[in-house]
């Protein structure tokens, strides 16, 4: 066990955990930030995507000991009022079905638009390819990313 001082959604958070603990479980079990989802545990589905210094990152494979002072953003901190352009676009296109993967999809999309504000169709497909949606909402996801890019 060790103490870690984390910077999550602009707030200092202290946790005492095994240094190997993935950020996913630090967020979910220790900080009750449960918007970040467990899907596979091996960085294959994208449900656990967060931002580390603005970059999309699979939190299931990110040990807390590797985070240091880098800023973490989770779905809860993407915007204060749930009005990030990507979130608004998601609502406009009424994307979700079951909703379980959508926080990860949104975080991946938001990171893409951070680094590439006007992505091509192919760039969107490539960036979003690591996020599985078992309900099959891919077309709406792509349309929402385009809408968010245009806003």
């Amino acid at each position: 066990m060790a103490i870690f001082n984390l910077n999550i959604n602009g707030k200092k958070q202290q946790v005492e955990v095994d240094p190997a603990t993935p950020m996913l479980w630090v967020l979910r079990d220790h900080l009750q930030l449960v918007g970040t989802k467990y899907g596979c545990g091996i960085a294959q589905c994208g449900a656990c995507t967060i931002h580390l210094e603005g970059q999309a990152m699979r939190s299931c494979q990110l040990p807390v000991s590797a985070v240091g002072e880098q800023a973490i953003t989770t779905i809860e901190g993407l915007s204060e009022k749930g009005d990030h352009p990507v979130q608004k676009a998601w609502l406009e296109h009424d994307v979700p079905q079951c909703g379980y993967c959508q926080a990860g999809q949104i975080m991946t999309a938001a990171a893409l638009l951070n680094s590439n504000p006007d992505p091509s169709e192919e760039e969107i497909e490539t960036a979003m390819n690591g996020n599985i949606c078992r309900c099959g909402t891919y077309l709406r996801i792509k349309a929402a990313v385009k809408t968010a890019a245009a806003s």
Partner: protein, 752 residues
């Protein structure tokens, strides 16, 4: 207007406050988050009045509607309350939707599955809405001393033209709640609907995009422990002995123990699975600690012997053999091929198929196969349970709460009244979450630990637990006369452990000589409902075959089907044909028109398919191009007849999902076994369709009619398999008989 007797659905009209357990507790946390619209709406009322189990009206006119069915992504939490709201005549922006928990004494049917939510909820929900509206009208009539017939309602307001009086529902609700439930009420004419048939956003949208805790996986309670289970690594194995010492010594671990989920003499129902009834529980403080301890656990497994269990189904109690032994996919294939050559059970026979095949000008025979499939809901199985000496609270993902209650009661030794099942939003279901074994497991662990626990499956546990879509095969034969008329048709289908044949479906009724046969093999690999059970294989097989028969007959594949449907309408063969030829033909004609079938672009390879199941008719045209040796689905057109469409944009979303899911499973879906061990346990090996492989565009067109609504969760799924196969044939010149098609694609020039 339709006059209905309210006593048909009497239990729905009991006042919640009159029921055991008292009134519904309303908390501000959900009220804040559940407004369906961001438009300016009413604030919270000081007092709520129950008009019936579904409807509460606040003193300021705000309305709470209870959504009865568990939500797994088909959007019933929006569409079912829309039905209530329309008959109640309220403004949707002043509606709050709340998920009902499992209360069979208050709600008619709390089952999500079989595409039946809207179809079976339609009349009860309309009746509940109309009854509450009538009670408000009657209360206003009493207060204003006018005739109820002279009162009209609109958007949560009551009006009396003659006297010029008006009031909001909120002002009248306290009196209305005391009035007797009308014996009979009139339902609206369809052309008076103002919410039904209009697109309304998902009431949970804002909560989903902001990551609010909606799933059982997200449940947290002070003092809660985390539990995981270890199940046998192979079907046919059971626990021999467990060395708990190492796991128990790991940090944060509270206990490690084996436990029974169901006893061998327990009389099961059809939803109590027989997969693994003895498991190892690992319980600790946090998920990561429990995951680590699970890895340190040493379990010795041994082969299980043959076992008989009693299962009580629709046809009474039956003793079912769970065979011992270790099975593999290779062995399954051999046994299935043997069975396919043997005599099978005749399910339907019209005319003289033998004679017709003998005198045929052309005969074609083809065999189709499909593997087991894992559901792979994005949310792995999990459940929260808090069991104390005299009661149990269970909160988890469950499509069929009613069917797990018996097992919970039997296993916990608590009467059903002492068990409360609360309905979490499900991170996918697809049939798999109809089987509530995870609820029993969580409850048993909680009871043993005497603490609230949240039990979580790892993805690997989830993918290797069983309850798969069965493996199937079907051999089709068709006979054409010299004029290329279909004179005989034969389907012989089998599978493990069930056959996929629905003998009375198309083309039964359209062919003079028809034979349907089925056979099955037993196995210890458990199976369960999977998005359109059986149809999801047989629909694709049949429609692929039809394409080949049409080609042999030299006919356009749509026209060939329409010709058969005309026969089924004008001069049907047999009596029990389970489809309406006109509606079936209607979707084919609509998809032909919308896809401009007769003017297909030259660079596009098209496949068509049509199927009727779960009460809804669907036809699909799939356009495929080859880019860099890679098949790319450019566009899918679907024509759907599901009667009245409640929420068109959400309905399209559901349809798009079914199509994407169908393409994914047709191309990639497969679970295989070696020595009883599932060969895929996570998404690195089990391939699910991803963004790049999804169609570039999907158009869903609904047949406009005034027929009562049917469901959409399943019907768009089965036909896609054939639309993909038929388009791939056009692209490659090769027919695809064995799912997943990626296996055959890899051996060709294509890469996937």
């Amino acid at each position: 207007m339709t006059l209905v007797k309210t006593n048909l659905n009497r239990r729905s009209f009991l006042k919640v406050s009159a029921l055991a357990g008292g009134g519904m507790m309303l908390s501000f946390s959900w009220l804040a988050g559940c407004k369906p619209s961001s438009e300016e709406a009413l604030s919270l009322p000081k007092e709520w009045f129950d008009l019936n189990s579904y409807i509460k009206i606040g003193d300021n006119g705000l309305v709470t509607l209870m959504s009865p069915n568990p939500e797994f992504g088909s959007n019933v939490k929006t569409s079912m309350p829309m039905i209530l709201a329309d008959e109640l005549d309220v403004d949707w922006k002043n509606v709050i939707v709340k998920q009902a928990d499992f209360f069979p004494e208050r709600y008619d049917r709390q089952f999500t599955g079989g595409s039946q939510g809207i179809r079976q909820g339609w009349t009860p929900l309309r009746t509940a809405g109309a009854t509450a509206r009538q009670m408000l009208v009657n209360a206003a009539a009493q207060q204003w001393k006018v005739s109820a017939e002279e009162i009209t309602t609109e958007a949560g307001m009551l009006h009396h033209k003659g006297s010029g009086q008006q009031a909001s529902y909120g002002e009248i609700a306290s009196l209305a709640a005391t009035l007797p439930v009308p014996e009979e009420i009139n339902l609206k004419k369809f052309d008076a609907f103002h919410i039904i048939g209009t697109s309304r956003k998902n009431v949970e949208g804002q909560n989903i995009v902001t990551g609010k805790p909606l799933f059982a996986m997200d449940r947290f309670q002070e003092g809660m422990l985390v539990a995981m289970i270890a199940h046998p690594p192979a079907f046919g194995l059971k626990v021999k002995s467990v060395d708990v010492a190492a796991a128990k010594a790991m940090p944060g671990i509270r206990d490690v123990f084996t436990f029974q989920t169901l006893s061998d003499d327990y009389e099961r129902n059809g939803f109590d699975t027989t997969t693994f009834t003895e498991l190892v529980a690992i319980v600790g403080n946090t998920t990561w600690e429990v995951m680590n301890a699970k890895k340190a656990l040493t379990v010795a497994w041994e082969e299980a012997a043959d076992k008989n269990v009693v299962v009580k189904g629709w046809n009474g109690a039956e003793s079912i053999l769970i065979p011992g032994g270790i099975e593999s996919t290779e062995g399954h294939k051999t046994r299935m091929e043997e069975m396919a050559r043997k005599t099978a059970e005749v399910l339907r026979k019209d005319g003289d198929p033998d004679a017709a095949f003998k005198k045929a000008d052309k005969v074609i025979e083809r065999t189709y196969t499909a593997p087991y499939l894992a559901h792979n809901c994005m949310e792995p199985r999990n459940c929260f349970a808090h069991v104390t000496a005299d009661k149990a609270e269970i909160y988890g993902p469950i499509q069929a709460p009613e069917f797990i209650m018996q097992a919970l009661s039997a296993r916990l030794g608590l009467p059903k009244e002492k068990i409360q099942i609360n309905l979490a939003r499900m991170g996918g279901g697809f049939g798999q979450r109809a089987y509530g074994h995870h609820m029993v497991e969580a409850a048993v662990i909680s009871q043993k630990m005497n603490a609230p626990i949240k039990m979580i499956y790892t993805r690997e546990d989830d993918m290797t637990y069983g309850i798969y879509r069965p493996t199937y095969t079907a051999t089709y034969r068709a006979a054409l006369d010299k004029d290329n008329n279909l004179i005989a048709f034969h389907v012989k289908g089998g599978g493990i452990p069930e056959h996929p044949v629905s003998a009375n479906r198309f083309p039964a009724g359209a062919v003079d000589n028809y034979l349907a046969e089925g056979w099955k093999l037993n196995s210890n690999i458990t199976i369960g409902a999977f998005r359109a059970p059986r149809s999801n294989f047989i629909g694709g097989a049949e429609q692929s075959f039809m394409d080949e028969v049409a080609e042999l007959a030299g006919k356009d594949p749509i026209e060939f089907r329409l010709e058969l449907l005309r026969r089924a309408k004008n001069n049907p063969v047999g009596k029990d044909n389970d489809y309406d030829p006109d509606r079936y033909a209607g979707v084919l004609q609509l998809v032909r028109e919308k896809s401009q079938w007769n003017e297909a672009p030259s660079n596009v390879h098209r496949g068509v398919s049509a199927y009727f199941c779960h009460n809804t008719y669907v036809a699909e045209v799939l356009d495929l191009v080859i880019k860099d040796n890679l098949p790319v689905v450019e566009k899918v057109y679907a024509a759907v007849d599901c009667g009245i469409v409640i929420n068109p944009d959400a309905a399209r979303n559901m349809g798009e999902g079914g199509i994407v899911d169908g393409i994914g499973n047709a191309l990639f879906g497969e679970m295989t076994f070696v020595d009883g061990v599932p060969q895929k346990s996570n998404f690195d090996k089990y391939r699910l369709i991803r963004q790049k492989e999804a169609p570039k565009a999907i158009e869903i067109h609904f047949v406009q009619n005034d027929l009562e609504p049917t469901g959409l969760g399943e019907p768009l799924f089965p036909p896609v398999f054939a639309a993909v196969a038929n388009a791939l044939y056009k692209a490659t010149g090769k027919r695809f008989y064995d799912q997943p098609f990626v296996n055959d694609l890899q051996t060709s020039e294509m890469r996937m």
